[in-house]
Symmetry: C2
Subunit: 426 residues, 2 copies
């Protein structure tokens, strides 16, 4: 039972730029979870935190208090080490799909608790749910058994994990308090630490299509999260990766599953392969298995074998045909030249407007909807040849999707490639 405090006292302290005490933080998170601190009080506190900040100790305590609000999983009795990955979200970011079975094929278990998408970045569960029969909800016992037998699980996070974060995240979403590094870092890390993974790799996206628009703020977030993970005994590293250009050649649900299967089968777009391998190597190193080369597991078919087992274990049919959108519309290149820019936000918005994403939590998504682009920055394009294919079940959605692609790409003469992995923090 934490010491008794008062909501207004805690709000005034942060409003007036004081550090919150451990006792104040423990109390306010517990009282908010219980409903003794009202939503309007937490909203005022969240805004004060956003504008006045929290130091490392406060963030660590805030994270610990959110973990303590719920259950904590423990995979220490598994026969192999565990490693997980978290991405801050990007356009065409299907990396979890090939990554989890690949790392499992290398002998490290991957307990990946994922979410659904909101806004222009897709959700991993939404993508997997385009596979006929696949189910996202597993009991803790099913998850544990699948980790032991298959080595990889991608499933929905249960309600028992960091319930304070669940409540606070929903509040931040409607009160303009999402973009606070202390709150973002503690939200992500409370779930990942409670999840009980031994090693963790953070893919912190930076660029027009990401939450973090500048390398500086992305680095600050990455450093904050790495420190939180290490303090909690989780072997944590972060990669800062580019999200000005969307990943791969697809943004949607079924079409991203197909691209992931292509990668697992030894093909797929070069950037998706590169990032999958880079993250796999970090996860393996974090779990003490850097003796294994993940590239070999893609080449020898063992990664796609684990994928099929993983999908089947959750009642999906990995060999079934994926859903296809009813309508399609092709955008052709207006001129010939080199594609010099493809804006991640423009593509993400187009896919979202086509029905691949949702505006409200309760909205459905279309399995077949999305955007396919036929060239990546640096590729030659020819006037009149297909540049984008837009996919949706509702013809009326094309107009707004096309509008969001306007100004979202440039065709010029020369292209200077930028690195996909910008920095490593660990």
């Amino acid at each position: 039972m934490p010491t008794q405090h008062d909501a207004v006292e805690v709000i005034l302290a942060k409003r007036d730029r004081q550090e919150l005490t451990d006792s104040q933080i423990d109390w306010v998170i517990d009282a908010y979870t219980r409903g003794a601190v009202a939503d309007e009080q937490m909203a005022a506190l969240a805004m004060a935190i956003l504008l006045n900040g929290m130091d490392r100790r406060e963030i660590a305590r805030w994270t610990a208090a959110m973990i303590a609000s719920g259950e904590r999983m423990d995979f220490s009795t598994l026969s192999r080490p565990t490693a997980d990955k978290h991405s801050t979200g990007g356009v065409g970011d299907k990396i979890t799909l090939p990554l989890a079975p690949l790392v499992a094929a290398c002998g490290v278990a991957v307990p990946q608790l994922s979410g659904r998408g909101l806004g222009h970045t897709g959700g991993t569960l939404d993508k997997l749910e385009s596979i006929p029969g696949w189910r996202a909800a597993l009991s803790n016992e099913e998850m544990f058994a699948q980790l032991e037998s298959v080595g990889a699980v991608i499933c929905a996070a249960g309600d028992g994990l960091a319930p304070a974060d669940k409540k606070l995240y929903a509040l931040r979403d409607v009160t303009g308090t999402v973009e606070a590094i202390p709150l973002i870092a503690s939200s992500i890390m409370s779930k990942k630490i409670a999840e009980g993974t031994g090693a963790l790799v953070l893919d912190v996206k930076v660029g027009t299509g990401a939450f973090m628009k500048s390398v500086e703020t992305a680095r600050e977030l990455a450093e904050t999260m790495v420190a939180l993970g290490k303090d909690a005994g989780v072997n944590t590293v972060a990669l800062l990766t580019d999200m000005s250009t969307p990943l791969g050649l697809t943004a949607g649900n079924a079409i991203e599953v197909q691209e992931s299967v292509d990668v697992l089968a030894g093909g797929g777009p070069a950037d998706v392969v590169e990032l999958t391998l880079a993250l796999a190597r970090e996860m393996l190193a974090g779990a003490g298995r850097d003796d294994v080369d993940p590239a070999e597991k893609l080449a020898d078919g063992s990664a796609i074998d684990v994928w099929k087992q993983m999908i089947r274990a959750q009642d999906g049919d990995p060999d079934a045909a994926l859903p296809v959108a009813r309508e399609s519309h092709v955008v052709t290149a207006p001129t010939s030249g080199v594609l010099t820019r493809l804006d991640a936000m423009a593509v993400g918005l187009a896919a979202w407007r086509l029905g691949a994403g949702r505006a409200r939590k309760e909205d459905p998504v279309q399995a077949g909807a999305g955007v396919v682009w036929h060239a990546r920055p640096g590729d030659e394009v020819t006037a009149g040849a297909p540049l984008f294919t837009l996919l949706t079940d509702d013809e009326h959605r094309f107009e707004r999707a096309l509008a969001s692609l306007e100004g979202g790409y440039d065709i010029g003469t020369s292209y200077e490639p930028a690195p996909l992995v910008i920095d490593r923090i660990g």
Copy 2:
């Protein structure tokens, strides 16, 4: 019907230090009043306003939007001009009680809509309710008729006046967002402008017992409110007055009524008389009646005649005995010398703890409770002679009241008097 906006859009604008547009302000106040903007969203916005500020245009528009949320009174058909006073709240501040009938006796009508007290500063209605029979609630028609016949009304503000402010004030109280000058100024001025007074004098208190602890913030608040009043066509001036020392010799309910009657009868403490006359002169000047000397109306008995009519018109008996507390406790001076300091906050807290004030809106107050001090700064005191008399119906309240008086006064050798009226802004 204001332009449609989105709560998060408005919050983000202020969070990111932008000016809110007129349209955003109109929408957010209207939507909050209707319940379309949730309490947690307004709380986040209030904190952003507190930390990032609003400029004069934003404050004026915010005030206008709060006025537009309810009804607006109109006294232009009265046979005499109107003037009102608002105090930001102090300890022992009973000035409204002698002031309203005094100004009415000078030929200017006073439509004083008052509130109840919360915390260490008492409420005007709480004080008047210690008079047997007196009622605070009047219909608009009763108020208008009494202004015409008696010239002075002190009554409860109806629910129809600036309902947005009523809702916002309750929210600010529990979310640590009271101390924002734009929100304080717009809260006070929206009610006073909606009330329809022709002239307005603001008594902005500064010092330990006041909301504003420094002359700088008090001046900023005063200047903001005077500008708002003038822009709305209300002849507005402000006096900055000292609230480091409590006013008069009493803090409570019935005991402050008695002190007010003493002033109306030509006696009473010098500081209460001084401030009552200073405010009366400003109100008369604002209403174009500076040809009348209010001191004469105290001396010739016409002010107390209006008081009795005003109390009777609201069913009170001005000649009835006032309630007396069941228990009393005398604090004697520990040494002889000159009282060099008497702290308004210490006295206010003691009166509050004795039962004169309330901790929650729904709490009752004790009519007889309070503190009487037998010396004011500059007065000689003698060791062993009474310094304070504490009054309450509940003996158990003495201990905490005594604790709040500890360190609340000094006895020394010499006292340098400070001015009661610090500045005038108009």
